[in-house]
């Protein structure tokens, strides 16, 4: 099989050399997965999912790339390089909603399919956006995780990323909307750890000092939740303060083991990379068109239904606890 494909690839290459651009359609569909920054476990897992989708689809080549730090400038450079390489599709998780728009518009003018996933781009800069889950669902999930362990009610506090993080702010807003469904649960404060381990640790310590009766810390950010769990362990408040929110199983395994965190949630990044690759493929090959109300298939994940902004939600967040952490901690 491998040899056949290589032979076929060689033939395609020869044909392309002879016939020029005409043969390009027979070539592999090259889909670039642009992430916020290289070296983040979440995105490495998404790349795995993308490879899985590529293997299913057959004639897809995934280019996993991104800047070395989470800046919009770095992503613009990466996108410009991809335009120069004339890839077939770009699927981007954006560091900035608006800053990437000009570069992505340029890509679309050159006939490159552009979609955003995880962290979105403004509508004019992409054809569709794939949300890992819906914001109301996540907002509900993070407070539910805390409330499920507090049948008698109690005080909870939120440890977020930066004050300007779009994702976190949206989720916290959605959480506040459904607070009425959780009588007895009181959100006493929101602090910001800027996604730095040391600042998040300090803010978590501050929360425990300011609110001695605190029952839970909700951290909807992967750096924050790990730091908060460490702070709870160091303060000797395991069992008293439950750390929950959104985190990665590999990073939270220690906190689940120590008991600082009873449960947390995250969507499956593997599924996310998988779905993004499928959607990019469908659009790039012309099999589907991104328009409000459209239903685009994404393999084993079912179908993505687009809303008026050409956005769609993949699935519900998944809960991890002591029962399944060992299974997932080696995956991502």
């Amino acid at each position: 099989m491998g040899i056949t494909r290589r032979l076929f690839g060689g033939t395609a290459l020869a044909a392309m050399m002879l016939a020029g651009g005409a043969a390009q359609a027979q070539d592999n569909v090259r889909i670039a997965l642009v992430v916020k920054a290289l070296g983040i476990g979440f995105f490495e897992a998404a790349a795995k999912g993308a490879e899985e989708a590529a293997a299913e689809l057959g004639n897809v080549e995934v280019i996993y790339t991104g800047p070395t730090d989470t800046t919009a400038e770095g992503q613009i450079e990466v996108i410009n390089a991809l335009i120069a390489q004339n890839v077939d599709a770009i699927a981007v998780s954006a560091n900035d909603t608006d800053a990437l728009v000009p570069a992505l518009k340029k890509a679309m003018q050159r006939g490159i399919t552009v979609i955003s996933w995880d962290s979105g781009v403004a509508p004019e800069g992409r054809q569709l956006h794939l949300n890992p889950s819906s914001n109301p669902l996540i907002g509900n999930m993070i407070i539910k995780l805390a409330a499920d362990n507090l049948p008698e009610g109690g005080e909870v506090a939120v440890l977020s990323a930066t004050t300007t993080s779009t994702n976190q702010n949206t989720w916290i807003d959605e959480m506040n909307k459904v607070m009425g469904n959780y009588p007895g649960i009181k959100v006493v404060g929101t602090v910001y750890g800027d996604d730095l381990a040391d600042k998040s640790y300090r803010e978590a310590q501050g929360l425990m000092q300011t609110y001695p009766d605190l029952d839970a810390i909700i951290a909807p950010t992967s750096v924050g939740i790990v730091a908060a769990a460490r702070a709870v362990e160091d303060a000797g408040k395991v069992g008293q303060v439950n750390v929950t929110g959104l985190g990665l199983p590999s990073e939270m395994a220690g906190a689940i083991e120590s008991g600082a965190s009873k449960s947390f949630a995250i969507w499956n990044p593997i599924d996310l990379g998988y779905s993004a690759t499928y959607l990019a493929y469908e659009l790039a090959t012309g099999a589907a068109e991104a328009a409000p109300g459209a239903e685009i298939p994404m393999g084993r994940m079912g179908k993505l239904t687009l809303d008026d902004n050409n956005e769609g939600a993949m699935a519900d967040p998944f809960i991890y606890d002591a029962s399944n952490i060992d299974e997932f901690k080696s995956i991502f």
Partner: protein
């Protein structure tokens, strides 16, 4: 009155006391001894790096690679511990010190032998060291459950009521006090920064002294790298991102002149404590997070304003004399 005003350490001590009183008025539990010890422990990494930075700045150089050095050493220690949990703590400490020192030496050699401006050298190595973490780790995190208990337990082990991390900061500060005041090298740092030409005439090798300063700074960054990773029980590429600026800020607030040759170890210690107290107090005094950055920044500007003011008044006096003679 004037001499008191000129003593930067006195002003800074007063500022710290005033700050503590202000915080206590809003959140009394902050000034409990237990909490102050916690704040000191939290500030220890900053103190360690600021001490190393102090000797570098004294010799008219700057080391911007300390945070990257810290992160790289921390990652190497964490990866070693994850792969071989049996390696004794002493070996990891020696490795951290040695690795950091070598990275400092690379900076120092380039400044000494190639005469490249220190800010350029360390900006370059800062990026190289961060990049190396990617190369080594492949971008993966080393997480709490992969580290051994001895590894994460060492900095937080209690000794006479204080964690080992705090004791290390105290020990190193003591060594710096003695070393700066009592050893030829300590005095050479001031001579080289105060007047490099005069230093050459007294037989001090300027380049070599700067090399030694970078080595010391690197060594402390390496040690702090291990302590940092063990304290937060996580190692990833971005740890201590932007920390180099905080370290330089601690030195500047402490009265170390960016022009070199002036400043004290006590000043650095107080500068680091000042920043540490601000950082630890902001979460508990219920100030809007939108204001927190502005407050930290203002503290730095005010400190630098003090520095330039004292420098300028000196210049004026000399000028008046010169005018009088002419």
């Amino acid at each position: 009155m004037k001499t008191f005003l000129k003593s930067r350490e006195a002003i800074l001590s007063a500022a710290i006391l005033a700050l503590l009183v202000l915080i206590a008025s809003r959140f009394p539990a902050f000034v409990e001894p237990g909490n102050l010890a916690r704040v000191f422990t939290d500030t220890s990494p900053l103190i360690l790096l600021a001490l190393g930075q102090t000797v570098v700045i004294l010799t008219r150089c700057i080391d911007l690679s300390v945070a990257a050095n810290l992160a790289l050493t921390g990652m190497v220690c964490a990866m070693l511990n994850a792969a071989y949990p049996g390696v004794p703590m002493a070996a990891i400490l020696v490795l951290a010190l040695a690795m950091g020192a070598v990275m400092g030496m690379i900076n120092g050699l380039m400044v000494w032998k190639l005469n490249i401006p220190p800010i350029v050298v360390t900006l370059g190595t800062m990026t190289i060291y961060r990049g190396l973490i990617f190369v080594l780790s492949g971008g993966a995190w080393v997480n709490a459950h992969e580290m051994s208990h001895a590894f994460t337990g060492f900095p937080r082990a209690e000794l006479l009521g204080l964690p080992v991390l705090a004791w290390i900061a105290i020990l190193v500060t003591g060594l710096f006090f003695l070393g700066i005041a009592r050893t030829p090298l300590g005095r050479a740092f001031y001579a080289v920064g105060g007047n490099p030409h005069a230093a050459v005439y007294t037989g001090i090798d300027v380049g070599r002294t700067q090399f030694m300063a970078f080595t010391l700074s690197g060594m402390l960054a390496g040690l702090t790298g291990y302590l940092w990773v063990a304290r937060y029980s996580v190692a990833y590429v971005d740890i201590a991102g932007g920390f180099e600026l905080e370290v330089v800020a601690a030195c500047v607030i402490g009265g170390i002149s960016i022009a070199g040759g002036a400043g004290t170890i006590l000043g650095t210690l107080l500068g680091a404590l000042f920043l540490g107290i601000v950082k630890n107090a902001l979460p508990v005094v219920d100030i809007s997070p939108f204001w927190q950055l502005a407050i930290s920044g203002t503290a730095i500007i005010v400190a630098v304003a003090f520095n330039t003011r004292s420098g300028r008044s000196k210049g004026r006096i000399i000028l008046k004399r010169a005018e009088g003679h002419a």
